[in-house]
Subunit: 166 residues, 2 copies
DNA sequence: CATAACTTTCAAATATTATTGAAAATAAAA
DNA sequence: TTTTATTTTCAATAATATTTGAAAGTTATG
């Protein structure tokens, strides 16, 4: 396969995968581009490569910075901003896990805490309490696993899992 | 908190969480409703409760069946179809993991396999190969963890993790 | 200070996705 | 077979999300 075709397919696939890990298509495509870049990219280069507008590029680069999935680097004597991403998949996964936990898991745990304290004794209320309490317990377990995962900065997680799941 | 309020908030939250695990809002809301139901629900009851159209209800119930997140039950002597869901969060998680693996992880592994075999020796191609190969390795590790998780049908996963992450 | 280089904003336009509702299809019962 | 209950389909519509592009904002430099 030719490089240009491979690159195009990879960027497109990464883009549509974006929604899986909670980011929009362009954001994921910019990330994909940064992953395979051999040096920091400017907004201009990103715009050109993905054929997107300046506003769009800017917005989504900011979003990546916000997610901790890209960082700004400055080139000596240049005014323009350049961007890079960490290329280690493990670091990427940990960062995504961290942000999604913050945006999704934490709020749902708070909500389940509130609603599971509902008052009443009817069959419906009893079932509701049971279900929401079970979900909360599960969410908290997941939370603590993710926390440990985030804290770690190497492959220990998969190494140990590898042994367990063999 | 009153039951009606708790129920409403829980369903709404579950609905907006839906996009997190890759399903649309209505589908997640129907699932939420089935989770707290004390008996099987018919399409009619779901429509009424969520105030959605028949077409919408039908489409999303089919989607839940397709994901393995709901199943049809028949009441003796009744023509209508009723639906239930498994209420164990662990079973839910395993089912979602299974479907998402099929829909997202498997295709991306196949793609990475193809594109990482790109021809060429330039700096760009070398970097591209390295990144896509690393991603593929990571994806395969994730895949094997998920496979083991899917196979299991109890809490062993969290029990062991609990010990590791303490 | 004035100009130029660059970044950010945001209203309008586009594109994408979800929902409705009524008609068509299906299948049990009369 | 005909009627009736129920489910499915799908074109039209509505709702949501994304993208554009030009103007406004910011900051470095002469």
């Amino acid at each position: 396969m030719e490089y240009s075709e491979a690159k195009e397919r990879y960027i497109e696939a990464w883009g549509s995968l974006g929604s899986s890990w909670g980011v929009n298509r362009t954001m994921a495509q910019i990330h994909a581009l940064l992953m395979i870049a051999t040096e920091p990219l400017s907004t201009e280069e990103i715009m050109e490569d993905l054929k997107i507008s300046r506003g769009n590029a800017n917005m989504n680069i900011r979003a990546l910075l916000d997610w901790g999935l890209a960082k700004k680097v400055l080139k000596l004597g240049e005014r323009k901003e350049y961007f890079v991403t960490d290329k280690d998949p493990m670091v990427l996964a940990a960062q995504v896990a961290k942000e999604r936990k913050k945006r999704e898991l934490d709020p749902i745990i708070r909500l389940l805490d509130e609603v599971s304290s509902v008052k009443g004794e009817s069959k419906e209320v009893q079932e509701f309490k049971k279900v929401t309490t079970d979900l909360k317990g599960f969410a908290k377990q997941a939370d603590s696993v993710i926390n440990t995962f985030i804290q770690s900065n190497s492959n220990w997680f998969f190494k140990i899992l590898g042994k367990i799941t063999r």
